[in-house]
């Protein structure tokens, strides 16, 4: 499970360029699948038979894409201007290592030395439009040998396990969910199930809408990650959720009011099986659930999210046990669907 997740986090799949992630999943899913297809958007849909064929069509869903940047211009001096691909807090960009394009050309997000800033500049951040990537090129001509406008840019891909069972990586959002689905696919399933590995969640849940239309599920479980603000200085509900308190079963976020009955079901399954769980204490964020729920004639949707600190940054942090619990609870959910 952890190995799968680490491998997935190291792959590059910035929204609109999920190919590397899809290729990897496709290769591993192929031998287990009863049906497998990709669609024109790039979603990967896999069907696998289980012990029983339930009355309801079940679809699990996780997104393959990650937040990143896209090159918008190469300057005469050889620097790259960029825009965000997906929602990014620009405070995590300054001075970070990045990889540009499919050849993974290394570069860094530059910012003039602190000595050259005014007191006010040190306290503010330039808009993204004024930031730039330095790939060490002397001029535009040299830069053009290895990069071009439109190249997607991903964060540094080193994975670190640290502390008391924590993991640091880029793209835990949502390779954690992809890993859960891939591991389920490679196991014997309690019931027939569709697995939708979607594209472009980070730019508006665009892939999931198409995938749901194609699979036409009755019930869908979204396997996701969610922001945790469990740091000193943030108190009460604003912490949203806390690492170490269990996998998150949300009742509502900014895109979806989750199916009440399924919310209750997941909570009950967790408690009956001794799996710690929590819910979000703030209505924030969103998932592919928003697109799946309102697809076609409507879908009953629920979600399981791994709490992640520094989400949408190169150094997101998750608790390994909570990634494993997401898998356990998803399996229990399928067992319930089989009844």
């Amino acid at each position: 499970m952890l190995d799968t997740m680490e491998t997935l986090c190291c792959l590059v799949g910035v929204s609109g360029g999920e190919d590397e992630v899809r290729d990897y999943i496709l290769e591993r899913a192929m031998p287990c699948a009863d049906e497998i297809r990709t669609d024109p958007m790039g979603n990967l849909m896999v069907f696998k038979k289980g012990a029983v064929t339930p009355g309801r069509r079940v679809m699990l869903c996780a997104h393959m894409d990650e937040v990143g940047l896209i090159v918008t211009d190469v300057t005469a001096e050889g620097y790259l201007r960029f825009a965000e691909a997906g929602g990014l807090d620009r405070r995590v960009l300054v001075g970070k290592q990045v990889y540009v394009g499919t050849d993974r050309v290394p570069g860094v997000v530059g910012s003039k030395a602190v000595h050259l800033t005014t007191a006010e500049q040190r306290k503010t951040l330039p808009p993204v439009s004024e930031m730039y990537i330095d790939i060490g090129a002397a001029d535009r001509e040299e830069a053009a040998k290895s990069v071009s406008v439109g190249d997607l840019v991903a964060f540094d891909d080193t994975v670190v396990r640290f502390g008391d069972g924590f993991i640091k990586a880029k793209a835990i959002d949502d390779r954690a969910g992809c890993a859960t689905m891939l591991e389920l696919l490679e196991s014997d399933l309690p019931c027939d199930c569709w697995f939708a590995f979607t594209v472009q969640e980070e730019v508006g849940c665009r892939g999931a809408a198409i995938a749901a239309r194609s699979v036409e599920p009755d019930v869908s479980l979204i396997l996701e990650t969610t922001t945790a603000a469990d740091i000193p200085g943030v108190e009460g509900a604003k912490r949203v959720c806390q690492l170490g308190r269990g996998v998150v079963i949300p009742f509502m976020d900014r895109g979806t009011i989750y199916d009440r009955e399924l919310y209750g079901l997941l909570g009950r399954l967790a408690e009956e099986n001794g799996i710690p769980w929590q819910t979000k204490t703030m209505i924030s964020g969103g998932t592919d659930g928003s697109a799946v729920q309102r697809s076609g004639a409507g879908v009953r949707v629920t979600a399981l999210s791994v709490p992640v600190r520094n989400i949408h940054s190169p150094a997101s942090v998750a608790k390994v046990s909570e990634c494993e619990d997401q898998y356990k609870l998803a399996r229990l959910f399928l067992e319930e669907m089989a009844k």
């Binding site: 300057t75 001096e77 620097y79 807090d89 620009r90 405070r91 995590v92 300054v94 001075g95 970070k96 290592q97 290394p106 570069g107 860094v108 997000v109 530059g110 910012s111 003039k112 030395a113 602190v114 000595h115 050259l116 800033t117 040190r122 306290k123 503010t124 951040l125 330039p126 004024e130 730039y132 330095d134 790939i135 060490g136 090129a137 002397a138 040299e142 670190v160 640290f162 502390g163 008391d164 069972g165 924590f166 640091k168 922001t227 603000a229 740091i231 000193p232 200085g233 943030v234 604003k238 949203v240 703030m282 924030s284 600190r309 520094n310 989400i311 940054s313 190169p314 150094a315 942090v317």
Partner: protein, 340 residues
Amino acid sequence: MELAELTKRLCGLSGPSGFEEPVRAWIAEYLAPVADEVRTDPMGNMIALKRCGKPGAKLALLDAHMDEIGFIVTGAEKGYLSFGMLGGVDQRMLPAREVRVLTEPPLYGVIATMPPHVLTEEEKGRSIEPDKLFIDVGLSQEEAVRTVPPGTPVVYAGSCEMLGEGMLCGKALDDRACAAVIIKAFEKLSQEELDVDICCLVSTQEEVGHRGAKTAAWGLRPDVALVVDVTHGKTPDAPNVPCSCGKGPAICMGPNINSALSKELFALARDGKIPHQPKAEPGGNSGTNAEAIQISREGVVTGLIGLPLKYMHSPVEMVSLADMEAIVELLTAYVEGLEV
């Protein structure tokens, strides 16, 4: 060891101001085979000497500093570490930053960032004040208190790597890149017949006020000193900086520098066809060890060579390897020309 490899090894070591011992020890061991004497002093400076054996020989000093900017743990709160700064840290660099907490063995940590939803409208778009940031080492409060006492130093994680065509990029290039340069120059000069004694001084605590160089210069009594430190390189958001990476060493001129010495460096660079760029240092304090050394005892003839560097005091500092090689060439040419 080749210059690039040497620089990578040096940058990978952890040595924030006041806690440079691993760097000092590594360099001392590296230089021991070529030096006549390697020693340290109460400030922890790394001093390597090579004597020419001629009576009354003068002492030429090469200086670069070994310390890097960093942090120091001040306490633990809910398992997270609070910290203060060692040297001029740029607070804009901190959110979601990976660090190495220098316990024994070191711990990996991430400076946790506040997600946008907990910020007020006014706070968005502003950098976070360091007293609101904490290092996440993935431990409970009890464990954090037990394993990471206050006073534990912290540095940025990582080292440096080659980037593009001949650039080096990473942490601590200020001033380990220049330490690598003077070490290479010392290695080269130690194999030559010289008319002067030479000293390779890799000094401590530059980032907190040129402290190591102050005592080392006093103890060594050099006749002439060449300080090698980084200088700002031009970037898109700092277009008015005079020097650029890749255009050669900056030969500095100003009150903090002996003018005859800088003239000599210009002449050597021109004659040797060594790329170089002029840099004016208007103040009495160039912000480098040249300040401490020049006014040591009864005064020292002091020169300053700048290695252009982009993004100073960030974890992604950047220099040109060709510029570094040019400084090795310039330093050796200068010392070779010194007479008894």
